[in-house]
Subunit: 508 residues, 2 copies
């Protein structure tokens, strides 16, 4: 299930070294692979603030394909440009800069096809679905570790992720200060300055972003999308990163896009619980549209709600990132917004007092199934009381709950569905939960019910095979025989069951 292609990271380093050596010279033809990060460094002398005043961009081309990316200052007199080639073949570039040392530099590299396990970036597919650049479906199975990179244990977290089935992780750029659960200092800060003396929002700390990138790269190697939260309100006066004025926010966003857009697994999540940050709608729109203009690859863009919703009809929002515990309206949201729906927060498995962190594993699992069978995707989190306040939800570390294995089981079922044409059942009752592709595939979820029989009205002219799925005990039991038309099958009479139905092609 995991993409273990750490070769990409390796290639990136090699390419980077070669190009750093070659500096601004056009130097042979290095190689990178499709959807990996190509990086070019340039040494340059610059008076003034290189973050703020040093302008660098590069235009990459490969035949008809032409993309322009911003470069960024990485400290130590080094400017960089990064680029993600989305097609194999020969790529060349030329820079543009207000710094003579960086202007009109050219270079080229050869992009080789990706390894089989690398499928590109995740985009919206078929209005309500996601898929990689090469067309491979991507079914989001998210988890939440807001601060695993800076306030937790990245190594242990990556180790845990490698053993689980999550393929998306919600994580913050800025450190988090939230109750007793997370309030430790990160080893680095994103800006120059200090808590005591104040931050210079005009001077980034490249080491901070390098640490972030390194870990995002490791997620990439594991096949995990980084749903990167650019702003969050959980600072509460501790650092003040939530209090930047709008011009500094724009500058920060521009910097992070320049650094990170070439990581194929990055998603731009503008905020967690956006409304508590107090930005105006116009300010959010400015941030969104800046990203839209600066990110040539069009990574996914979303914004996560607290009590209120952002106007998610806005065209710069690619999908819904919803906090809710009410799943009844998922089908309606699909129809209203014509975008994929991810329930990115619906309370976590755990036992803490907070009302957002004490679901049983059964209920966390059931919420994944409910959301999935209503046509959305769900995100996990874990918040078990810990004497050292290391909760997976904030600091990563280890997973102790019982839902992750069940969620992995569901992911397998997701991946076995038809690639396209699967839709959720929807009527005004909105009571039944099932996905279907008429005549071909049906996946019913029964939640907290205990029927002893299940009845189906199948098309009469097609033979179907039935399977009874125990979503908790993770078993799939085929029902003997094939069925057409009105069908009744025996059920075990206990909660958390599902039924999968597939058309059965005989050789007749």
């Amino acid at each position: 299930m995991k993409n273990t292609a750490s070769i990409n990271g390796f290639i990136k380093i090699i390419v980077s070294c070669i190009l750093a050596l070659s500096s601004s010279l056009s130097f042979g033809n290095p190689t990178t692979s499709q959807w990996a990060v190509f990086e070019q460094s340039f040494a340059a002398k610059f008076e003034g603030n290189p973050f703020r005043e040093g302008k660098l961009k590069a235009t990459f081309s490969n035949g008809d394909k032409v993309l322009t990316v911003d470069g960024f200052y990485d400290g130590g007199g080094i400017f960089k440009i990064r680029f993600m080639p989305d097609a194999s073949g020969e790529w060349s570039f030329i820079t543009e800069s207000n710094i003579p040392d960086l202007d009109k530099k050219t270079g080229s590299f050869t992009c080789v096809p990706s390894a089989g396990s690398v499928h590109g970036m995740v985009h919206v597919r078929d209005t309500f679905e996601f898929g990689y650049s090469d067309g491979t479906p991507y079914y989001p199975v998210g988890t939440t570790c807001y601060q695993w990179v800076f306030q937790g244990n990245p190594k242990q977290t990556l180790e845990t992720l490698s053993k689980n089935a999550f393929n998306k992780i919600r994580m913050c750029v800025f450190p988090k200060n939230y109750d007793v659960y997370i309030n430790n200092e990160p080893p680095l800060y994103p800006f120059e300055g200090s808590k005591e003396k104040g931050w210079d929002f005009d001077r980034f700390n490249p080491a901070y972003f390098k640490m972030l990138e390194e870990n995002i790269g490791k997620l990439m190697d594991l096949g995990i999308e980084a749903d990167l939260i650019l702003f969050h309100p959980y600072d509460w006066g501790k650092w003040g990163f939530d209090k930047m004025p709008q011009d500094k926010r724009l500058q920060y966003v521009e910097y992070i896009v320049a650094r990170l857009a070439s990581y194929r697994n990055v998603w731009w999540s503008l905020a967690n619980e956006f409304e508590y940050l107090g930005f105006s709608n116009g300010e959010w729109e400015q941030l969104f549209t800046l990203i839209e203009s600066k990110d040539p690859y069009h990574h996914l863009r979303s914004i996560h709600n607290g009590e209120h919703w952002y106007d998610v009809l806005k065209p710069y929002i690619t999908h819904l990132s919803v906090q809710t515990t009410d799943f009844f309206d998922i089908q309606d949201w699909r129809e209203k917004y014509k975008k994929p729906v991810i329930i990115d927060e619906c309370v976590y498995e755990g036992d803490i007092p907070s009302d957002w962190g004490n679901l049983t594993a059964e209920e966390m699992t059931s919420r994944f199934w409910q959301v999935y069978c209503r046509g959305g995707y769900c995100t996990h989190g874990e918040t078990y009381i810990d004497s050292r306040n290391i909760l997976w939800w904030s600091k990563g570390g280890i997973l102790r709950g019982q839902s992750p294995s069940r969620i992995a089981f569901l992911r397998k079922i997701m991946e076995e569905r038809p690639i396209s044409g699967v839709v959720p059942f929807h009527n005004l009752w909105n009571k039944e939960m099932y996905l279907f592709k008429p005549g071909e595939y049906y996946l019913y979820y029964y939640g907290n019910t205990q029927q002893k029989l299940a009845r189906f009205k199948m098309p009469g002219n097609i033979k179907f095979k039935f399977e009874v799925i125990d979503t908790w005990n993770m078993t799939i039991t085929p029902v003997e025989g094939t069925f057409s038309g009105s069908t009744e099958i025996k059920m075990p009479g206990r909660p958390w069951m599902a039924v999968r139905i597939k058309s059965f092609m005989t050789s007749e």
Copy 2:
């Protein structure tokens, strides 16, 4: 918990006998008790159709109180008037009729105060609550037995009800034809005629309504409200009682109001899943306003939805009778409609295949708690597969499920709350579920969570006692000590828990 005042039924019979003897004579002063049924019979000869053409009404007065009721033809040459005195003292009446034998007849009776267990009719109290005429609170704890009177076993059903805590029952006037679960013939029919030859909607069968009344009277003796469903769509061509034209519907409603309005425990539920009957909104409104004008006691009036809602803002609707499995909006509905909310159908405990009848007992119980702690009231039903298709939901009989005892436990908790001023918590998240009366009473429900600690921000200047309630195991465990301000209490870390908090008055 039960009102076993069968004395009312007895008094009714005595009064009826005495008055039948006295016929139209003003005869001494018989006695009835407050909120019991006073009945006066009159023999009269009448040419034509006495149901349709015989008009009779009577005006009852007691000091300033004056109420007019319609009489009805009860077969065998007997017309009757029934009256429910809502105040003790001397009542007299005078009739008005187009039949000379029935016109200007007078009579009187003495109304004595009710027994202590009889509190009158149920009305809306404090906008969102219910209470009896004498001010005693009434907290609806409903069940559903659509056809226990005519297609089930009334004796056994009443016996079962007497051993449980339900104080409201949803039941139909007309027989029901629904799948394999209920399709048997009733022993009687409401109209003259037959299935084969057709029904004469102008001629009622008094024996049918007597059987109905007798059983509604027995519910009254048990302290159970009869939420009487006047129309339902589940006939499917078997009898055709759903196909009366509007003028016949109005005639039927007028007849049933004349017969039954004097039963203090009757509620008028215009329909079950009203929209499938296909009446126009204007027709429903005509039926509602007819009842409003003919029922001098103003019994509760509602209408139950299928997929669509009736315009429940209409002033003739006293409370919401909702079918839903989504409880998130209960607080919103209270605020929007300013009426009590009863979730009259939210799937039943059972194990049948239909998606409306297979909840676990845990889930049925939890739904009662969820609805209650959001400021509504809930209704039970039971649908366990039975070899003879005797399901409590349709035919009554015995209860086999595990939720009724838990619902009885909840009723006890309801009855221990402050009489007024208790409201549900409501914010935009709509996630937390609790009722509270600030500074005095709090009832939190935690559903399918497993927190090991619960935290509360209580007022600092009041001492509170805490109790941990296991809604499934039906235990109430006091927490030692009293608490003020920020309070943390230990929880058992398993689902279906509640916490009750009461202010604690010391003698200081």
